[in-house]
């Protein structure tokens, strides 16, 4: 059976999703309710895990994001056939409605102060000392919702609402490598020096991206992966 390319509504447990093609080489599966939250992110990772067995042959790459999962078709693979396989699988399977990923190990990252950047600005805005700011940041439990912008850049959910802070009006042209930053309700870590508009509160020593692969991460080029839980230590 061929896939007609029309959007399809899918229900899993209590969550509703829309599946529709993104061009002729990708499918976007989006939560009907678009929210930046640990609950949405957890649903995306549950869907991603449920679909994984279908792709043991490597026909698709899965790109989890805050409230969507994008499936990319391998060059040469047939879209219609693969799409039909995914749709049949999703309609036949009861996907676990687990919301938070509590099975992944916690990755600890030592947070070092980085004087002269933005920690003082944020601490002043929140009426805290920089030490209190870092302590509150380290008390939070983060989860990697998505990786993008640059190779290995983790978008972290779990920032306490009290530490949320708008982006800079004018981005910095040079953010040092391994800077830990707050951008709105998210936190992130710049793997390499790059431009960036988030406020920098500290730094880690652990490299996040090595194109030749980290032996400690089974050869993966990234230290963190979507779904990982992260704890900063200071």
């Amino acid at each position: 059976m061929d896939y007609s390319g029309a959007p399809i509504e899918i229900a899993f447990g209590h969550s509703h999703w829309w599946l529709r093609p993104l061009g002729d080489r990708a499918i976007r599966i989006e939560l009907a309710e678009q929210q930046m939250s640990l609950a949405s992110s957890g649903l995306v990772h549950a869907l991603s895990s449920a679909l994984q067995p279908l792709f043991s042959h490597g026909g698709w790459a899965l790109v989890p994001a805050y409230a969507s999962l994008t499936l990319l078709l391998r060059p040469g693979a047939d879209f219609g056939e693969s799409a039909h396989q995914i749709i049949s699988f999703l309609s036949a399977n009861e996907t676990p409605a687990s919301t938070t990923n509590t099975t992944n190990p916690i990755v600890e990252l030592q947070l070092l102060p980085e004087p002269g950047l933005d920690a003082e600005i944020l601490a002043d805005a929140f009426g805290l000392s920089t030490r209190q700011l870092l302590q509150q940041f380290c008390a939070a439990r983060f989860q990697v919702a998505q990786i993008g912008f640059r190779a290995g850049f983790p978008y972290l959910l779990g920032l306490p609402p009290a530490l949320s802070f708008q982006r800079k009006a004018v981005p910095r042209t040079h953010v040092p490598a391994l800077s830990v930053a707050i951008g709105g309700a998210q936190a992130g870590i710049y793997p390499a020096a790059s431009p960036g508009g988030w406020h920098i509160i500290g730094q880690i020593a652990q490299p996040l991206f090595d194109p030749n692969g980290f032996a400690e991460r089974a050869g993966s080029p990234c230290w963190l992966a979507p779904g990982d839980r992260v704890q900063f230590v200071c």
Binding site: A6, L22, G23, A61, R74, P221
Partner: protein, 317 residues
């Protein structure tokens, strides 16, 4: 080894990477894979072997040992020789020898924007994540993880015997089509119906801010609801047509980031993706919204043409 005298806008590319997108690592690789395949086949390589991808610019290269070369893609003149008064002219579509002391100069570009230079002696560079492709944003792959620079040296492996092949007919596949007077049709599948309807039949000019990562276009701004501009970032692909909050459309290229937060009007169909690398700066594209069935038919027709061209090369030696 090869030495770049003028690197222009060039980089090492092959078929690119697949399967690392969840880690923020995009596809990279050939922006016009069929043209790269033809260049490779002309010197007896596998179609996906690593090549030098050259974007319209002044390019010049030399060698310290005889090497067989073929170029394909954009239509440009290839000037070969050791002295100003003793140069031979070649055109893309045939294999030729470059010997020590000679230079190959490419500076007159007639049609198309991207040309592939394949060598029968394979480029001797390390694979990173199963590919030699340059990932310039993340600083790895290719030569030192960046675009090529003047004086860069490219080691090559020992020469293998290669058939001397030539395309029997000069140009079986037009680079860009003039079906619409003066504009190149860019067929796309809709993603957001309201934005796609606005984009349909509109014409845009390629600005000088076009790269392997994205094409910035000049033309009519689209009306975009503020809610669409504050969408959560999600997976994107080469060919995705983003609409900036200003209403300006921006088409992602083969070096696209893996996640994007801008609204999406649609996505260019596979058959037209190479045009993103071949339409020249200053030329005009016309967006044409197609349905799923039309896209399948156009893609199939394009594949058939490409297969015929590959067969023509195989039967030419």
């Amino acid at each position: 080894m090869l030495t770049l005298i003028k690197a222009g806008l060039s980089s090492i590319q092959d078929a690119g990477r697949f399967g690392f997108e969840a880690l923020g690592i995009g596809h990279a690789g050939f922006a016009d894979p069929h043209s790269a395949s033809v260049a490779n086949l002309l010197v007896g390589n596998k179609p996906e072997s690593a090549c030098i991808e050259i974007c319209e610019s002044h390019f010049e290269i030399t060698t310290d040992a005889p090497i067989q070369i073929a170029c394909f893609g954009a239509w440009a003149s290839l000037s070969i020789g050791s002295q100003a008064n003793d140069r031979r002219q070649f055109y893309p579509g045939c294999a030729f020898w470059l010997v020590q002391g000679e230079t190959l100069r490419i500076y007159r570009w007639f049609a198309g924007r991207t040309l592939y230079l394949a060598t029968a002696s394979a480029l001797d560079l390390p694979e990173v994540m199963h590919s030699l492709s340059t990932d310039a944003a993340n600083h790895f792959g290719g030569r030192a993880g960046r675009m090529l620079k003047n004086s860069d040296v490219l080691p090559v492996m020992a020469a293998k015997p290669a058939p001397q092949r030539t395309l029997p007919h000069a140009w079986p596949i037009p680079l860009t089509s003039s079906a619409v007077q003066g504009a190149n049709p860019l067929r796309f599948l809709p993603f957001n119906d309201a934005l796609a309807a606005q984009l349909n039949q509109r014409r845009y000019q390629l600005t000088s801010q076009c790269s392997r990562a994205a094409l910035r276009l000049q033309g009519p701004a689209l009306q975009i609801e503020p809610a669409l501009s504050s969408a959560l970032s999600a997976g994107v692909v080469p060919g995705a047509i983003q609409v900036l909050p200003s209403g300006e459309p921006l088409v992602l290229g083969i070096d696209a980031q893996t996640l994007g937060g801008y609204a999406l009007a649609g996505c260019v169909i596979s058959a037209d993706l190479a045009k993103l690398a071949q339409v020249k700066i200053g030329e005009v594209v016309q967006f044409e919204c197609v349905d799923w069935l039309q896209a399948q038919q156009l893609n199939l027709a394009r594949e058939r043409l490409q297969e015929r061209q590959v067969l023509a090369i195989a039967s030419s030696s």
